[in-house]
């Protein structure tokens, strides 16, 4: 007898079950609904045949098991049970009968039920208020969850910008507006006659031609400069209401800190759900095969084309992943000479990439300086040329952002990485390019602002050219935002629609090679993260910018939706919803970090302009905080000084490090325990099979002894050494005890 042969079939191929196996608690938990037993002709053991042949043994064990289950499920709401509605109904009736509740208990239960229903209705009402529900569901049905994640990301940004605007509005703009109405007294900052506080008005005089209004609207100058839109208008020092004095500079600074903080918390909270699941995986692979197969099909797809495309993209993804293993093998097999060659090529290409990036940054720098100097000349040339000069930095940035991704995707082909790494690396380069270009723009602006004819500037900044430099920076951010929006709309109108027309009506070779537009999610996401970074930086200088960005993203949603439905086909390379969730929020966090930097530098380092804005009376914008703290009572002052001292910072840092080490050690210990438990489970499985085999042998022997019937058993013995061997194609068969054995009733 083969010691490993546990399960075997009898000669006729009809499979029946061992009653003992059916009584195993683990099998009982797999009980299916279907109680009928008519699966005798099937070769594989079906649940029905198992149930049918076990007879009365089953009955007693089933009731016992059900009672235990009932006890376990007593606390769970009924709908979380995996049963049909009928069964749930009868179960509920049984429960209600079994539990004899007093009237107090019944009242409590019905109140609980009523509250739960109320909560669900409120939740339902809230979710129906969610913006664009119908549109998003349509997109989900047509294109699947990958592209859906882009649109829900867009919706998230709309909400975020709206909240940021509400913060700035309610703390900065609203007090100024309601001050006259509620008899508040506004004290404006005094200009001390200093040369630094001269602020020539830039409003146009005399008759203004219409197109000059348009130019002003597009560039943020002229009539727009001295409005709520820009920092320079808020030359308010304090507002005296009936009971309190409202310090506007303090509110302005704290509102800035608040919106940065709020964005950080909201993004981290949003990414936490996806992150948790990834962190507890003990495998390094981010995309596991199980995830792709078991969660591979989007059940919400309702479109035939989308279903076909989903299939082909799944196929492509699986093929690529299976290829990865082959490529990993190939990489491991590289000879030394090949490796040196590859590293050399990569080094050269990386230098090339750095050179290209440096060239782009330098051109942005030059363009900014040229644009600033040309604007200072104040010549009334052709207004169109003026507009182009004003927008020159934006144009250069957009051109660079257009050309570079193409360049990077060509270069990566020669660097011979694995496909997944290629995608990620190209993406990283593009992210770096996009976000650093804003930094370069700001840096070149600041170099202009702090450069004076003399060695050191009198006022800390170039007061001749930039009497109100924050407004200038705000104007640049405003121009970037407007131009970004114009470009997105123009590309959709003038590139994607004609492309679709050409593909549909013209069938020449070039057109067919170009193909229909693919909705490239990474590039689109980078676009909107770029816009959001500008918004974060610009809100300090241009408090109404979040509102403009909200409206901008609102329109972008509809533009992208129409473009997607009419022009695009889904990408052949699939973009998983989960990894995209992680990617979007990761890039957004990088953008936020990058946005914090310029704002911090300008608040803390560069002297605030003395001709405009709320911080006229302070040397830097940050100074308003120490000045306010100095006016607080002594106790609070001491507390705040203690909190900001070095001692506190160092001890806080040490405690945080300790906590982190503890958590890392805990995670390591858990990992070890998990591995041990896994091995134990595998061992238990083997034990179980061994015991059952012995039991069957014992049963067989006893039957032979008692009935002295020749037992003919043919065995196809699947070996259990490996989980899969080639003769294992027919799954497991169970031994049938002899028909008249004493164990069977």
């Amino acid at each position: 007898m083969d010691s490993d042969a546990v399960f075997y079939t009898d000669r006729s191929g009809i499979v029946t079950s061992n009653p003992l196996l059916d009584q195993l608690p683990s099998y009982q938990s797999l009980l299916y609904r279907r109680k009928s037993s008519n699966g005798g002709t099937k070769r594989r053991p079906s649940s029905r045949s198992r149930l049918g042949s076990s007879g009365s043994w089953k009955l007693s064990t089933v009731t016992r098991q059900e009672e235990k289950q009932r006890g376990q499920t007593l606390q769970r709401p009924i709908r979380e049970l995996a049963k049909t509605i009928n069964e749930k109904r009868t179960y509920k009736k049984q429960q209600d009968e079994a539990r004899e509740l007093s009237s107090w208990g019944q009242w409590r239960q019905s109140t609980r039920r009523y509250l739960r229903r109320l909560k669900e209705e409120a939740q339902g009402w809230f979710s129906s208020l969610k913006l664009w529900r119908g549109d998003i569901r349509l997109i989900e049905g047509m294109f699947g969850t990958g592209i859906l994640s882009y649109f829900s990301f867009l919706r998230f940004l709309v909400m975020l910008n709206l909240i940021i605007f509400l913060i700035m509005f309610s703390f900065v703009i609203l007090p100024i507006i309601i001050a006259p109405k509620s008899s508040g007294n506004i004290t404006y900052s005094q200009s001390n006659g200093n040369v630094c506080s001269v602020y020539p008005s830039s409003a146009r005089r005399g008759l203004v031609v219409f197109h000059e209004h348009l130019t002003d609207l597009l560039s943020g100058g002229g009539f727009l400069e001295d409005t709520y839109l820009f920092y320079g208008y808020y030359k308010v020092d304090k507002i005296h209401f009936a009971q309190i004095t409202y310090s506007l500079p303090l509110a302005y600074l704290l509102a800035t800190v608040a919106y940065m903080f709020l964005s950080l918390i909201w993004i981290v909270k949003r990414s936490a759900t996806g992150f948790k699941q990834n962190l507890i995986q003990d495998e390094d692979r981010f995309q596991s095969f199980c995830n792709k197969i078991f969660a591979g099909w989007d059940f919400c797809i309702t479109d035939k084309n989308a279903a076909r495309l989903k299939r082909s993209s799944l196929l492509y993804e699986l093929k690529t992943d299976l290829e990865e293993e082959r490529i990993k093998q190939k990489i491991a097999d590289r000879t030394r000479k090949e490796r040196c060659r590859i590293y050399l090529i990569r080094l050269i290409l990386n230098f090339f990439v750095i050179g290209v990036l440096a060239g782009c940054f330098y051109s942005i720098y030059l363009a900014t300086i040229f644009s600033q100097e040309a604007q200072m000349k104040d010549e009334k040339g052709n207004s169109h040329i003026d507009l182009i000069i004003e927008y020159l930095p934006s144009i250069v940035i957009t051109l660079a952002n257009f050309i570079n991704p193409l360049l990077f995707s060509i270069i990566i082909n020669y660097e011979d990485y694995s496909p997944a790494f290629e995608i990620r690396f190209t993406l990283m380069r593009c992210v770096f390019m996009r976000l650093t270009s804003i930094g370069v723009l700001l840096f070149s602006l600041w170099s202009q602002i702090t450069k004076c004819k003399e060695e050191t500037c009198i006022c800390g900044y170039n007061h001749v050219l930039y009497s109100c430099w924050e407004t200038r920076v705000g104007q640049e951010m405003y121009k970037l935002t407007i131009f970004d929006f114009i470009i997105i709309a123009a590309v959709t109108l003038f590139v994607e629609f004609p492309r679709k027309m050409m593909v549909q009506y013209c069938d020449c070779g070039v057109v067919r090679w170009w193909g229909q537009q693919e909705f490239a999610i990474p590039q689109n996401v980078l676009e909107i993260v770029y816009g959001q970074t500008i918004c974060w930086i610009g809100t300090f200088y241009c408090p109404i910018l979040p509102a403009i960005c909200t409206i901008k993203y609102f329109f972008i949603f509809y533009i992208k939706k129409v473009s997607l439905i009419k022009n695009c086909r889904p990408a052949t390379r699939p973009f998983r919803a989960s990894s995209s969730h992680f990617f979007f929020l990761g890039v957004l966090l990088i953008g936020l970090a990058l946005a914090c930097l310029p704002v911090t530098v300008s608040v803390a380092q560069i002297s605030s302009s003395q001709a405009c804005g709320p911080f006229v009376n302070y040397s830097t914008s940050w100074e308003v905080l120490p000045a306010t703290v100095a006016q607080l009572p002594n106790g609070a002052q001491n507390l705040l000084y203690a909190l900001s001292s070095e001692v506190f910072a160092v001890s806080f840092f040490v405690v945080t490090c300790l906590a982190m080490f503890y958590v890392i050690a805990l995670a390591g210990a858990h990992k070890r325990v998990i591995n041990q438990l896994r091995e134990q489970l595998a061992m238990e499985g083997r034990d179980k099979r061994f015991l059952i085999q012995k039991l069957c042998q014992a049963q067989g022997n006893r039957a032979v002894q008692s009935k002295s019937q020749p037992q003919t058993r043919s065995r196809s013995s699947p070996s259990y050494h490996t989980s899969f061997s080639s003769n294992f194609s027919e799954s497991v068969f169970l031994a049938h005890p002899p028909p008249h054995s004493s164990t069977h009733v």
């Binding site: 709908r79 009928n86 078991f294 969730h581 099979r689 799954s731």
Partner: protein, 191 residues
């Protein structure tokens, strides 16, 4: 529209709301869709007993292009003849398991049953192979080659088979699905 049993009265609406994960609007929408499947019949349908045959259920828009539509009908059907026909309550069960607010446990339980093509209580080699073929395509040139399929099945079992018996049982499936970030968002049908 008929009267009596084919209309949803408030009481049964409340009861269904309690027994499933669906909201009132979703139940009413499901009811409307279900009644539409009875178009052309002379008698109005009874809620608890009238069955819609499988070939009509799979014409519903949400199921039409789903490769698992046959399995879904089989899993949720309570008919003795095992022909995949659904009553209204079966239909509600279906929508409840696929709804937004269903728990992960319910979803993974029913997903396991849908993927278990031979109804033997475990996902064996044959089940996984059928699953892969359904997902990738049914024609010759769009499906994976045999050795690739075997490699894929090996990988899946490596990741999910904890007790190393060559099949994936319900608890192993639920364990691997709980770590799968895409599952909840993809296992969803909304009317």
């Amino acid at each position: 529209m008929g009267t009596g049993a084919s209309q949803l009265d408030k009481d049964s609406l409340l009861k269904y709301e309690e027994l499933t994960f669906l909201t009132k609007q979703e139940i009413l929408l499901a009811h409307k869709k279900f009644i539409q499947l009875f178009e052309g019949k002379k008698r109005p349908p009874e809620l608890q007993t009238s069955r819609v045959p499988k070939h009509k259920i799979i014409t519903v828009l949400e199921l039409q292009y789903n490769p698992f539509r046959d399995r879904i009908c089989h899993v949720f059907s309570t008919s003795e003849m095992n022909n995949g026909s659904l009553t209204f309550e079966d239909f509600l069960d279906l929508l409840s398991a696929f709804s937004d607010s269903a728990t992960l446990e319910i979803k993974s339980h029913y997903a396991f049953r849908i993927f278990d093509f031979d109804d033997d209580g475990t996902l064996g080699c044959g089940d996984l192979e059928k699953l892969i073929n359904l997902l990738t395509g049914e024609t010759e040139d769009t499906s994976l080659k045999d050795d690739k399929v075997k490699q894929l099945i090996n990988n899946i079992l490596e990741e999910s088979d904890i007790d190393k018996d060559g099949t994936v049982n319900l608890s192993e499936f639920q364990h691997v699905v709980s770590r799968s970030p895409d599952f909840v968002s993809s296992f969803k049908i909304v009317l």
